[in-house]
């Protein structure tokens, strides 16, 4: 259906929701176009053609209106709204259990993604952390919990292959979570206008096995380290209600 390849656990639910909505609205669209086309051909002005004088305010018209209103509300609105709530709960509504999830912190800054891994002790802000730029490595098969706080303006953490998007705001913590099913390298896009080089804010999401990710983190830590200075801005933006 034209979507990028789906590599997430719940992504297919969204594709299916799109399919249902597509066929329902297409049916309504074809009905409108069919009646429109029929009227233009059948009722075009011709010599001797007399229009039927009616204000369409009789009982029949009223019943037709009520019937259509009911059909549209129940057939399209309620139908899609209920499915949407189910898909939303599965896709975004139920945050994973932090203990089991693979947690990272992402702090977008004008035109780069700062990413922090907690390291073995599972705590952020300790010396075994790792900070990288635009490179996110996550394990497949395990829910990933991403905490987002922006350093300057509003950015939006967009993973098209995982069908999720979450704005990152300064002074507010937002969360995004997904579970990868396929390994491989995918792209991270910034979906909220964040400045003159908004288009350059591209990141990479590498999905590997647990071992590969752990080994990558250990290897990269010698090179990059924790860079605590950068993350002082992160703690300063903490709000009680986060």
């Amino acid at each position: 259906m034209g979507f990028p390849e789906d590599a997430s656990l719940h992504g297919h639910l969204l594709d299916r929701l799109y399919g249902h909505a597509f066929w329902l609205t297409l049916a309504a669209f074809l009905a409108v176009v069919a009646i429109l086309g029929w009227c233009l051909v059948r009722y075009r002005a011709r010599p001797g053609r007399l229009p039927t004088y009616t204000h369409g305010s009789g009982r029949g018209a009223l019943l037709l209106s009520l019937g259509l209103a009911f059909a549209v509300f129940v057939g399209i609105d309620l139908n899609l709204a209920l499915e949407d709530h189910r898909v939303f709960d599965a896709l975004v509504g139920t945050p994973p259990d932090p203990a089991k999830a693979f947690r990272i912190q992402v702090m977008p800054q004008q035109f780069v993604w700062n990413v922090r891994y907690p390291g073995e002790d599972g705590e952020f802000g300790t010396d075994d952390d790792l900070t990288t730029l635009n490179q996110i490595h996550v394990p497949a098969g395990r829910p990933v919990l991403v905490e987002l706080r922006s350093m300057d303006v509003v950015h939006s953490f967009f993973l098209p292959h995982f069908r999720i998007k979450q704005d990152a705001l300064p002074g507010l913590t937002t969360r995004a979570y997904f579970q990868a099913t396929k390994t491989g390298t995918y792209e991270v896009a910034c979906a909220e206008l964040c400045g003159l080089e908004h288009y350059r804010m591209r990141g990479f999401l590498h999905v590997g096995s647990e071992e590969e990710v752990a080994e990558w983190i250990a290897r990269t830590r010698e090179e990059y380290g924790a860079d605590q200075e950068l993350w002082r801005a992160w703690t300063r933006m903490k709000r009680e209600s986060d």
């Binding site: 507010l172 709000r239 009680e240 209600s241």
Partner: protein, 95 residues
Amino acid sequence: MNAATGTARLMRPAVVYGWLAVLTAFELAVVRVPLGRGATASLLVGSALAKAALVVLHFMHLRIEGRILRAIALLPLLLVVAFVVALIPDIGARR
């Protein structure tokens, strides 16, 4: 201007003036008495609404105006209150 009977249902300006003065004094007093925050807030808001109603109904003659002017006055008020209340869970709750 207004029909003679209409203005009869409006309080005389002096009486309204009296009430407004009393309520203002009351508000100043309430702030000095150490009641709980909630009590002080509700008393102050109550007094402010009373004063506002007095001015709108009696000084602005809304009490004797037709349906159209009452609707024009009431509609934006309801919209604003609904809009602000809708913001509370999203902005107000972010302590």
